[in-house]
């Protein structure tokens, strides 16, 4: 616990120092975050490899509150994701912010970055509902100030408002949930809650409140609308932190509540599987239709949260059906995907930031040909793209493989409803994977392959080492998890044991052994794939030795004067799929078609607004606004009237009291 408290102290000390440090602002904050994260890693890893669970409880003067923290194996796994990504994002951000916004005051943004990291760490470790909510709000509000960093731009302020409203609506559900939990469980300390015998109605209500409240933070469809707005607005390393770790606090909260609630009925699993499939497919489809690189990545966060939720749903179905292997595989896949998503989504956002930094734009149709100009960024982005698409030999494949295993195991034992859910989960996951692959082929191809579509993309050069190193480290981590999958699962054994125990399953050692056996084949296959690729490269070298190799412009196709405009654009590449899903996407296109033998001006533009925002929230909020508009007569603008309201309220309360 000392190491963890030291981590919090160092991170916050760096943040405060950054406010005062003048020219040393970035170095102070980065130093604090890196040193603190190392301490935090020590604390988390010690628990994961079998150390005792550190815990502390200090009294707090807030009613029902206590400063009680504990790092159990579930917390430790989430902390691991945080403390791996945070220092890398901070190192990247130190250079990125100084280069991009060097003349502006940056103390504030660093302070809130430190506060965000410390807040997330507290959320992962708090064992008291009041403390949890306080940490939750600290984290959410810090993130608001980071989203609105470039507050001079209108769309950034707009995104900030959307985020703030969404997060507070989510918190409102959480407050209701914790109040109800405290009432039903007799305590607001997580360790002392007695919810095991809560009635099905109460437990179901708690579960639904948790899904809405935590789902809003996690970005589950249809609560995701803030996500594609807020992530692109923030600086890239902040997007990486928010998408990589902050939205995982929603998953963590959901899991923590599930561990406290009584044994799950089948419909909880069904609900999570359904929401997971909808979020996953919806997220990736909307990603496919985007033109903005960071917006595209933000929609992929929705997709990956969907995959994680799907895994949790499969796990719950397994628990309900009494199939330990299904449950274990589902939970293991979901938890590993939390870690994996932090790694590859962090990597992709950092890569998108590097591209935006080098070219000044995030519009896919302004980019192109950056692979030759920015080989490091291009190479690491490719690794991240392959990982997020769930391709071997990388980490995304491992976690999705575990979820598939769970779904298949459930399908094979096949009993009615469970069979349907399992097949839906597996088919949904397959559809998500395929569409994600298409989407990242589009994104990577448009940005890094072909010829530059704008002069600025043509002039771009590789970014500084401080930006490249974090990306390289994350790419290496993605590959390492893919190649060492059986050992990674062994490292999660304690976390899985805790989950299994909470759900009343037998000790999971046997199932972990089974899954490790399967993963050994995955890793062997990955190694074989790498060997085959190495052989192919070697063969190419040998065959080309002594021959002249000429390079021609991409898409040259024998024309004497090829132009970058002859390439596929990102939109045209995605068009067949976008057209296929037009009923869902409702892409709006405006085109001036060329006409005549010598066509003159022609143009084409398309946009895909979010239907949840358009059709659900906008009418809803308009209705609420209209309702409150009826109360406008209360606002007369006369001070006497306002005083009268106050006086009347006070007098009525007084009379009611002394009655």
């Amino acid at each position: 616990m000392t190491a963890f408290l030291a981590a919090l102290g160092l991170i916050m000390a760096g943040g405060v120092a950054s406010l005062l440090a003048g020219r040393w602002r970035s170095r102070a904050a980065v130093g604090g975050i890196v040193a603190g994260s190392l301490c935090g890693l020590v604390a988390a890893v010690r628990v994961l490899i079998g150390g005792p669970t550190p815990a502390m409880r200090l009294p707090w003067r807030v009613p029902y509150g206590s400063f009680s923290l504990a790092i159990d194996p579930v917390s430790a796994l989430f902390l691991l994701a945080l403390f791996v990504l945070a220092p890398l994002a901070a190192v990247y951000g130190g250079r990125y912010l100084e280069e991009e916004h060097g003349g502006e005051p940056l103390g504030g943004v660093w302070f809130f970055t430190s506060l965000l990291i410390a807040g997330i760490a507290l959320v992962f470790t708090a064992r008291n509902a009041v403390l949890f909510l306080v940490a939750w709000e600290v984290m959410s509000v810090a993130a608001y100030f980071l989203v609105t960093f470039e507050h001079r731009r209108d769309e950034v302020r707009e995104a900030g408002w959307t985020y703030l409203v969404a997060t507070h609506l989510g918190t409102a559900f959480l407050i209701a949930m914790f109040l109800l939990m405290g009432r039903a469980g007799g305590s607001l300390e997580f360790d002392e809650m007695q919810l095991g015998h809560a009635s099905p109605a109460v437990a179901g209500l708690l579960f639904v409140l948790a899904v809405v409240g935590f789902g809003t933070k996690a970005g589950l469809v249809p609560f995701h609308v803030w996500l594609p707005e807020a992530h692109p607005a923030a600086p890239s390393h902040i997007s990486a932190l928010m998408s990589g770790v902050m939205i995982k606090t929603g998953i963590y909260g959901l899991l923590r509540v599930l561990l406290l609630l009584p044994s799950p009925p089948a419909w909880w699993g069904w609900l999570l599987v359904a929401m997971g499939v909808v979020s996953g497919v919806g997220g990736v489809l909307f990603a496919l239709a985007q033109h903005d690189l960071k917006r595209l990545l933000a929609y992929h966060s929705v997709e990956n949260i969907g995959i994680i939720t799907l895994g949790l749903g499969v796990g719950l179905l397994g628990v309900h059906a009494g199939l330990p292997l299904v449950a274990l595989a589902g939970f293991a896949g979901a938890l590993l995907h939390v870690l994996n998503h932090a790694l590859f989504k962090g990597l992709l956002f950092l890569g998108a930031g590097a591209v935006a930094h080098a070219t000044g734009t995030r519009d896919l149709d302004q980019l192109g040909g950056l692979g030759k100009r920015m080989p490091w960024t291009g190479g690491t982005f490719l690794i991240g793209a392959a990982a997020i698409s769930g391709l071997p030999p990388l980490n995304g494949f491992v976690s999705e493989f575990l979820i598939y295993t769970g779904a298949f195991a459930a399908a094979l034992t096949g009993r009615g409803a469970l069979l349907v859910a399992a097949v839906a989960a597996a088919a949904g996951l397959a559809l998500i994977g395929g569409l994600a692959l298409a989407c990242f082929t589009k994104a990577f191809g448009a940005v890094f392959l072909g010829e530059p579509r704008s002069p600025r993309a043509g002039r771009a050069g590789e970014v500084a080492a401080a930006l490249r190193l974090p990306m390289a480290a994350l790419a290496a981590a993605c590959a390492a998890i893919g190649l060492a999958a059986p050992w990674v699962l062994a490292g999660m054994a304690r976390t899985l044991a805790q989950v299994a125990q909470a759900f009343g399953l037998p000790s999971p050692d046997a199932q972990i052994e089974t899954l490790r056996g399967a993963l050994a084949w995955v890793s062997l296959g990955a190694l074989a794939l790498l060997a085959a690729v190495a052989l192919a490269v070697l063969a190419r070298r040998l065959l080309l030795r002594g021959r002249t190799v000429t390079a021609a412009p991409t898409w040259g196709c024998g024309y004497s004067a090829p132009s970058p405009r002859m390439q596929y654009t990102a939109s045209s590449f995605a068009q067949p799929l976008v057209d296929l899903f037009q009923p869902v996407l409702r892409t709006e296109a405006t085109a001036t078609l060329p006409s005549g033998a010598f066509p003159g001006h022609a143009s084409f533009a398309s946009a895909t607004p979010d239907p949840a925002e358009r059709r659900l929230y906008r009418p809803l909020f308009a209705g609420v606004a209209a309702l409150f508009g009826r109360l406008r007569w209360v606002q007369q603008g006369r001070i006497q009237l306002y005083l009268l309201y106050l006086v009347a309220t006070l007098l009525i309360l007084l009379l009611w009291k002394v009655r």
Partner: protein, 217 residues
Amino acid sequence: MFEINTLLVGLLLVNFVLLGASRLGTSVRQVAAQGALLSLLTLAEHAGWGAPWRVWLLALGSGVVKAVVFPYFLRRALREADVRREMEPYVGFTASVLVGVAALAASLWLASRLPLPGPVEAPLLVPVSLFTLLVGLFLLVSRRKALTQVVGYLVLENGVFCFGLALPEDAPLSVEVGILLDIFAAVFIMGIMIYHISREFDHIDTDRMSSLRDEAT
């Protein structure tokens, strides 16, 4: 001079005068008188001439501030703004006095029901302080001129102060001094504000300042 009940009745009468006064000058004079009465009441409540030095300090301090300094500010603001009468209050003067009678009855009833931490020496103290409070609130709600608003605010505070006297040891003198300081700053600022508002808009009618509210969009 330190007869508590006499002082309380004086306070009560001053409240009625305030309710019926249309001249702003009268209001300011009455509120000054109320301040002076309260300062005497403080001493009377704490054994007259033999009161401890802290009580003397409080009594003298509040007396000077409420009976001398505030009226000076207000009269100055009055002179600068060049207004003499409260025109067209939301509730007429006669009606105001009637409301005052009702408020007095309500205060007497309330005082009989209000659970107090200890016994009160003077039976009239609590009702009169509640009545002063209600009159202050009523003046705030029913008058238009910014200056009468300040007067209402002062009366309200006098009520709070008076109520504090009814609770012998529960309201420490330091709290009273703190409140006094707050009021001082508030009246000081309001005096300046009234002056500036009248210079900017040629009037100090608060009901004509409603155009700053949030309009329907």
